[in-house]
């Protein structure tokens, strides 16, 4: 450590920072390139297996290999991509790329709502459990159990309950999907939030006490900011959980506008039009990517002024 003398100017500490920034910029550039590179590798492996895979399957070094797939099981990468530009069904129908994009966007909105609901519910639970010890003891077992119940099982029940409330649920089944996404998303937020809210050091709590700060002020000024580094990874998990929850419940409760149901529908048509199924899978994958990019940028915003090592 540098000894601070005189006015206490410690230049060495300050001068390292810009260098670190430049290094980070270079790394970010590499990361942007990584995606197309890995995409090319995956495509090459896919196509490669179609060429060199054994005709009737076999074994290499004791590993069982699947028989070489025809274009029905493993369509060419360019077939899948070009399928996006052709009409969905007949010559007069919409281009499939647009259909898939619309469905993915529909599901994205539902998943986004699920994510926001999950974060809000998760944080409220975490805050209540931090405030009242008995709340944690009483509720935690149920929260854990809630996550072991298969979502495909709850989905129809939820739709049934919602239908009892609203007579024309037909157009509002997406509410059920959103709730189910939130049902999966809140849990990591609660766990991460709880740990984060408790992570403030005893000395910093004492400091707030010495200012006679109210519990609420301590929450806002100390506990919530302390929780941010714990919430960031929890939000990544929650974002993914929201997408999975929404896509799965779309299939389970038959929401036709969503990407989940589109995957299921195109799956049924895959024998005649295998590339079609993969266009919907692309849509679902992009939905997931967009969601994780969104969460990552939120994370960056939340941790913008933290130490570089965090």
């Amino acid at each position: 450590m540098t000894v601070v003398l005189g006015a206490g100017v410690d230049e060495s500490v300050i001068s390292v920072l810009p260098a670190r920034g430049a290094q980070r910029k270079r790394r970010r550039g590499l990361r942007v390139l990584m995606f197309p590179i890995t995409f090319a590798i995956v495509a090459a492996l896919w196509e490669g297996y179609k060429v060199v895979g054994p005709q009737n399957g076999g074994k290499i070094l004791g590993w069982k290999l699947l028989p070489r797939a025809g274009s029905r099981e493993m369509p060419h990468v360019w077939d899948m991509v070009s399928r996006l530009t052709r009409p969905e069904n007949g010559p007069n129908s919409q281009t499939i790329g647009i259909v898939v994009a619309k469905a993915a966007f529909y599901s994205f909105r539902v998943a986004l709502l699920a994510f926001v609901l999950g974060v809000v519910i998760g944080m409220v639970l975490a805050i209540l459990m931090t405030r009242f010890k008995f709340f944690e003891r009483a509720l935690m077992p149920y929260l854990v159990i809630s996550q072991t119940v298969p979502i495909v099982g709850i989905a129809p029940v939820l739709v049934f309950i919602l239908a009892a409330w609203s007579r024309n649920l037909g157009d509002q089944k997406w509410i059920a999907a959103s709730l189910l996404g939130a049902f999966l998303a809140f849990f990591p937020i609660t766990i991460g939030g709880l740990r984060g809210l408790k992570s403030a050091s005893p000395e910093s709590i004492e400091l707030m006490d010495s200012y006679a700060a109210s519990w609420w002020m301590t929450l806002v000024k100390l506990r919530l900011p302390s929780a941010a580094p714990y919430l960031a990874p929890a939000m990544r998990v929650a974002g993914a959980a929201a997408v999975v929850g929404v896509v799965v419940s779309e299939i389970s409760v038959k929401i036709n506008q969503g990407i989940g149901e589109l995957v299921a529908l195109y799956g049924q048509q895959a024998t005649n039009d295998p590339a079609k199924l993969f266009t919907a899978v692309f849509g679902a994958a992009i939905l997931g990517l967009v969601m994780s990019a969104l969460v990552a940028s939120m994370e960056k915003l939340m941790l913008r002024s933290r130490p570089v090592t965090a």
Partner: protein, 266 residues
């Protein structure tokens, strides 16, 4: 009117259970306005506990603590004291200036007044050009200066410090001690300072309160007559060494002949 008056204070942790601890027994301590008093003693002697009792962060089992004739609880509600800890306890998500403004925010000061005051405090601790730096960009000594600036921001008459320089290297530490004396002179703040370094206690204090453990109690009070103009030269003064010896012997006496544990002799 005394700055702090501790009368017949005892503190028992885990009262009535198997691991009951008599942390403090029958403590009487009066600190006058503008005085610098150090609490010294081996680990477990209750010096930090006493500081927290004065701060009303814990309640005494019996006895009373008054601050300017006010009960300690009321004094805390009125933010009549500032506090600094061994870990600077700066909030890593706030820049230096915003850290200093924290107590002012909680007091409900408006933004321009807060700004002006925090810059004034930064000048006081000689970190004027670091207002926008983040805590993790500063060295340990600089972080402690910010913590001191924060503890004095609301201009409290009393400063409670719990081993604030304990984590610093020796050179930085001695420099910070001189800085603290300068700041005290400029602000006229009363200071109660917990330490386990004998030279630190002697160099800084008007009085050194020697404590011993099991049960925690005050065993001696050493008056340090070194005058109010202490400089780096004071550390080489014969008087300084005499007082160090006096405190050391008081600590030994407290341990009844055996060498005290956890005391820094440097």
């Amino acid at each position: 009117m005394s700055a702090v008056e501790v009368a017949q204070v005892s503190k028992v942790f885990n009262l009535g259970t198997a691991d009951q601890v008599d942390a403090l027994v029958d403590i009487d301590l009066t600190v006058e306005q503008g005085e610098f008093v150090s609490l010294i003693g081996p680990s477990g002697c209750g010096k930090s506990t006493l500081l927290r009792l004065i701060a009303d962060l814990i309640e005494p089992t019996s006895g009373t603590v008054l601050m300017n004739a006010k009960p300690a609880h009321q004094a805390r509600l009125d933010q009549d004291y500032g506090m600094a800890f061994q870990q600077s306890g700066l909030f890593e998500w706030r820049n230096v200036q915003k850290n200093i403004e924290l107590p002012l925010e909680l007091k409900g000061w408006d933004k321009p007044t807060r700004r002006a005051r925090s810059l004034e405090m930064l000048e006081l601790v000689k970190l004027g050009q670091f207002a926008k730096h983040m805590p993790w960009q500063l060295s340990g000594g600089m972080q402690q200066r910010v913590a001191i600036a924060r503890s004095l921001a609301a201009n409290p008459p009393l400063l409670l410090m719990d081993e604030p320089f304990g984590a610093l290297d020796e050179m930085t530490r001695e420099h910070m001690q001189t800085e603290l004396l300068r700041i005290r002179k400029e602000t006229g703040t009363t200071i109660i300072f917990v330490t386990h370094s004998i030279p630190e206690a002697v160099y800084l204090s008007d009085r050194v309160v020697v404590m011993s453990p099991r049960p925690g109690r005050i065993t001696a009070v050493v008056d340090v007559v070194l005058g109010s103009d202490r400089t780096e030269d004071t550390r080489e003064d014969e008087q300084f060494y005499d007082r160090i010896t006096e405190v050391r012997e008081a600590l030994r006496g407290a341990e009844m002949g055996s060498a005290p544990l956890g005391i820094e002799d440097r």
